[in-house]
């Protein structure tokens, strides 16, 4: 399943957009290693919101044939891996050129904030997919509400995690663990067992 999901994410352009978002904003790493996070998410919002269902065709397929856990889990995992691989590479690269050097705590804090926001965004996307599977396959109007709500909540989570990681890192870690549990619940939720037939 992993290779098929990888092919779908690649062909839908999701993985390319992840690469593009981080490369486009890569000079921002020089200014602030945290600032890249909301910027990259701004470009990646469609992929995050509709991660496992980039098109209406997928939603219809899932409604008709089912959605095994492995599809969602693999698409989420591939997204996490690709974002982290790129971020890590860029952090290392710009870390080499940082004038004052980079503290390991800065590294860890950035990884914590990025992954916290990423897990939240994926949970949000998974929930939206579940909502589409339960309701009409043809969503139009709701997008007007969902996109601003997504941006607002992602920015809110980013701000909370960023401030906590600077002031009370243990609390930031606790919030991260909570987000990890929320994501796991959303990714492993038995979509196939849900009574989604209208």
């Amino acid at each position: 399943m992993a290779s098929l999901v990888f092919k779908i994410l690649k062909k839908e352009g999701t993985l390319i957009l992840v690469l593009f978002s981080f490369l486009l904003f890569s000079p921002v790493y020089f200014l602030d290693i945290f600032l890249i996070i909301p910027m990259a998410f701004f470009l990646l919002h469609r992929e995050m919101l509709n991660l496992a269902a980039p098109s209406e065709q997928n939603v219809i397929l899932y409604k008709l044939y089912g959605l095994p856990d492995s599809v969602l889990l693999w698409s989420n995992t591939l997204m996490i891996l690709s974002v982290n691989a790129l971020n890590f590479t860029l952090l290392m690269f710009f870390g080499l050129f940082a004038l004052e050097g980079m503290k390991s705590s800065d590294y860890l804090n950035q990884l914590l904030v990025l992954n916290g926001v990423l897990l939240f965004a994926l949970s949000f996307g998974n929930t939206m997919l579940y909502y589409r599977l339960k309701g009409s396959a043809f969503l139009i109007l709701q997008k007007i509400l969902i996109v601003p709500l997504f941006f607002f909540s992602v920015l809110l989570i980013f701000t909370i995690l960023f401030l906590l990681s600077q002031a009370v890192p243990t609390l930031a870690a606790a919030v991260f663990v909570m987000l990890l549990l929320i994501w796991l619940t959303s990714a492993l939720y038995k979509y196939d067992r849900a009574e989604k037939y209208l």
Partner: protein, 242 residues
Amino acid sequence: MIGLKNISKRFGTQTVLNNVSLDIRKGEIHALLGTNGAGKSTLIKILAGLLPKENGGIYYDQAPMKTERIRKIGFVFDESLYLPYLSAGEYLEFVCRLIGMGPKTYQPKIDESLSLFSLPADRKPINTYSNGMKSKVSFAAAMIHSPEFLVLDEPFNGIDFITTREVVKILKQRAKEGTGIFVTSHQFDIILELATHFSILHGARIILSMPREQLQEEAEKLFADLSAGEAVKTYVENSILA
């Protein structure tokens, strides 16, 4: 049997379906006829669970339709359903995976489907296929899990007569084997050749629903001077105009 009972649907103030009831039995080829915008596609989308309905119920073997039962139905929509960047084999594999089949089960089925519909087994993506081949991919995916019913919405749109003939042959064979087929089409000649039961949707209601023999008998009584096919065609046209 699939039972549609008193299905109603509105889009804004326009009533598209008004207490529509139909039964689709195993082994029959049930044709739903109607003019453009009569609500045939809407009815099929409701049956597939893609659109919500205002009221009414959908039943499978007398029990309310549930998620696991929808998997016993294969759907072909007016717009072909496929992932354009996958090859036919990969797309069929994806559908099999969604259904929950393991590689040992699905590989022979995929090989059989590719050969039955004369689809290429190479890695060329579906978006490079002709319209006829794209339609065949939709048919192959709808039939890969040997469903008890096939629901086809304008399945012959945009495909050439050779492909149509191939598909008609496969559908007739499936019906002989006991698969129930529910089909909508504008191409009356094909429907006339295929269907064993006719229903007409007009003015948001079912205005006629009867088996082929009964329809033919009544049509021939009224239009004795016409051939059997022409008589049925005229009878159906007159029913809609009336």
